[in-house]
């Protein structure tokens, strides 16, 4: 007893010569299995107490070698693989791929096919944003929206199931158009869904937008400026919330988006709250587009004249679409054989995830969760 007392009194507790507990920087692992990382994402945080000094993302846990597989499958055989990348918004992936190969083959889908494509893709945008809203609110602590947003998503998935048989990985489009004609009652179903869904967005806004806890948790969290976004290559709602009014559907229109009237919602500060508002507004715009599309559905063929054995002439094409998460690009190199020579997918979530470090500097650990949610990443797309 006396020994330890004397040894304690020997220690100079006022000003230690060298720090025996370096409590300045702590490295913590937010491991691949975590309820709030939306998949298998590993984040290594450097913390000073609760404040984040920097972070590093380790990805690749869901790498399936989709680009390598693309070199060993024919163009039509590769179509189903594409849905599995961003499995939340599978229809958009299919649209991007089909349009890129159509560019290589120099065919254009007929007007009716393009119209139906727009309807299904915008429904997909709503479904993706609904899943985003539910999981993002859940991460921040608002458990209620999850159940309601998934119920809305169910309605959309029912339409997909009636149309092409699959809910999630739909393989809805074919190169050159569509395979299935819209089923009897498709337009009535879509119109009923719109009538059902329109007031729901207002309900969710009522739950969250002026909610004091929500505003406290999301305002000024994860702010990123427009210059940083452009420098880092960030696209999608994140870029629009930072003030850049840019949307591929307006800048480089594809699939007859030229014929529809819609706005591009933008934010001011580029923080989490603005990204939330931008996505809610995007859902409203999607409803507007679907309403216009379904009111003016033209008659006609649904498939262009495409050879059964596809051998596009040698060349390379880059084409991108505005997926719900950002700019989804496909770079396909063809060597005049039945299989592509190289398929490169430019995933929006992969490039957006680079911004996580910049957005989280100086924030608290709880804000890291909010920022991961607001970036809306899907690991299937990040890793491919």
């Amino acid at each position: 007893m006396t020994d330890s007392n004397s040894s304690l009194s020997n220690l100079d507790l006022e000003t230690p010569e060298k720090p025996f507990l370096d409590s300045n920087e702590l490295v913590i692992n937010m491991g691949p299995q975590h309820p709030a990382t939306h998949g298998v994402l590993r984040v290594i945080l450097r913390l000073d107490g609760e404040k984040v000094l920097g972070l590093e993302c380790v990805i690749g846990y869901l790498h399936r070698g989709v680009e390598k597989i693309g070199e060993h499958r024919t163009y039509t055989m590769f179509n189903p693989y594409v849905d599995r990348m961003d499995y939340v918004a599978a229809v958009s992936n299919g649209l991007g791929y089909c349009e890129t190969v159509e560019k290589l083959l120099n065919v254009e889908a007929p007007p009716r096919a393009q119209h139906v494509r727009v309807i299904l893709t915008e429904l997909n945008r709503i479904a993706s944003h609904q899943l985003w809203l539910g999981t993002h609110a859940l991460d921040i602590g608002a458990i209620t929206p999850l159940f309601y947003t998934f119920r809305d998503r169910e309605e959309i998935l029912k339409i997909y199931e009636k149309y092409c048989g699959a809910r999630l990985t739909t393989h809805a489009f074919r190169i050159g158009g569509l395979q299935y004609e819209t089923y009897a009652g498709f337009e009535k179903d879509v119109k009923n869904f719109l009538a059902f869904f329109r007031p729901k967005i207002d309900e969710y806004e009522e739950l969250l937008t002026t909610n004091r806890i929500w505003v406290e948790r999301t305002k000024n969290v994860g702010a990123i400026s427009a210059q940083d976004c452009i420098a880092l290559g960030v696209t999608g709602p994140v870029l629009r919330a930072s003030g850049v009014k840019w949307d591929l559907r307006k800048a480089k229109p594809y699939a007859n988006y030229k014929n529809f009237d819609f706005d591009i919602p933008t934010g001011e500060n580029g923080d989490t709250y603005d990204r939330y508002l931008v996505r809610m507004a995007e859902m409203r715009q999607s409803v507007r587009i679907i309403q216009q599309a379904v009111d003016a559905l033209p008659e006609g063929p649904i498939m262009a004249k495409v050879p059964k054995v596809m051998k596009p002439p040698a060349g390379e094409v880059y084409h991108s679409i505005e997926a719900p998460k950002g700019e989804l690009g496909y770079f396909i190199v063809s060597d005049a054989s039945t299989q592509p020579y190289r398929v490169r997918v430019r995933p929006p979530s992969f490039v957006n995830l680079q911004a996580l470090d910049v957005m989280c500097r100086g924030q608290l650990v709880a804000d890291v969760i909010a920022v991961i949610g607001t970036l809306d990443i899907v690991l299937g797309e990040v890793d491919r």
């Binding site: 690749g60 960030v234 430019r346």
Partner: protein, 158 residues
């Protein structure tokens, strides 16, 4: 714009077009210069994608492609260069910070090194994996059996 660049660099640039998309094949020696000119003078401030294609039959085996976009001109352009196996390229990270992970992925999948990259290590595959999968001489079912045996404790992944 292409005419101006061609006038400036002569034979180092070959402008081409396919399916309505403009791209240029640039000499390896011109590489950081052309990208800087494109960003500073021609306002291509957005690096959309960096990727590579492997042509094993050619002498210059790799085609490295930059896809750039300009907000001001609403124009997209591709810059391609051809390099030998084992040759390295200057990194574009000082020009566009977003090129960081894109170049790491090209290194991971093809083995093309970028000089001056702040942190060039594998991104999608484990750190100590051997081999670069997207090369044409890497089999579709091939795996790094040594890594699998050490880390997963099984004989092989097949």
């Amino acid at each position: 714009m292409i005419a101006k660049l061609k006038a400036g660099y002569g034979s180092g640039i070959e402008p081409l077009s396919y399916a309505g998309q403009n791209y240029m094949v640039v000499d390896r020696s011109l590489i950081p210069e052309i990208l800087l000119v494109l960003r500073n003078e021609e306002q291509f401030d957005f690096c959309v994608d960096i990727t590579a294609v492997h042509y094993p039959q050619r002498e210059k085996q790799f085609d490295v492609v930059w896809v750039l976009y300009s907000f001001a001109r609403n124009e997209r352009i591709r810059v391609k260069t051809q390099i030998l196996d084992g040759e390295s390229l200057p990194s574009s990270v000082p020009i566009w910070p977003g090129a960081n992970w894109l170049e790491r992925e090209v290194f991971d999948m093809f083995g093309i090194k970028f000089d001056g990259h702040p942190d060039l290590k594998r991104i999608l595959l484990p750190e100590d994996w051997k081999g670069h999968p997207l090369r044409k001489d890497y089999g579709i079912l091939q795996q790094d059996n040594e890594w699998v045996q050490i880390n997963l404790g099984i004989e092989s992944g097949q």
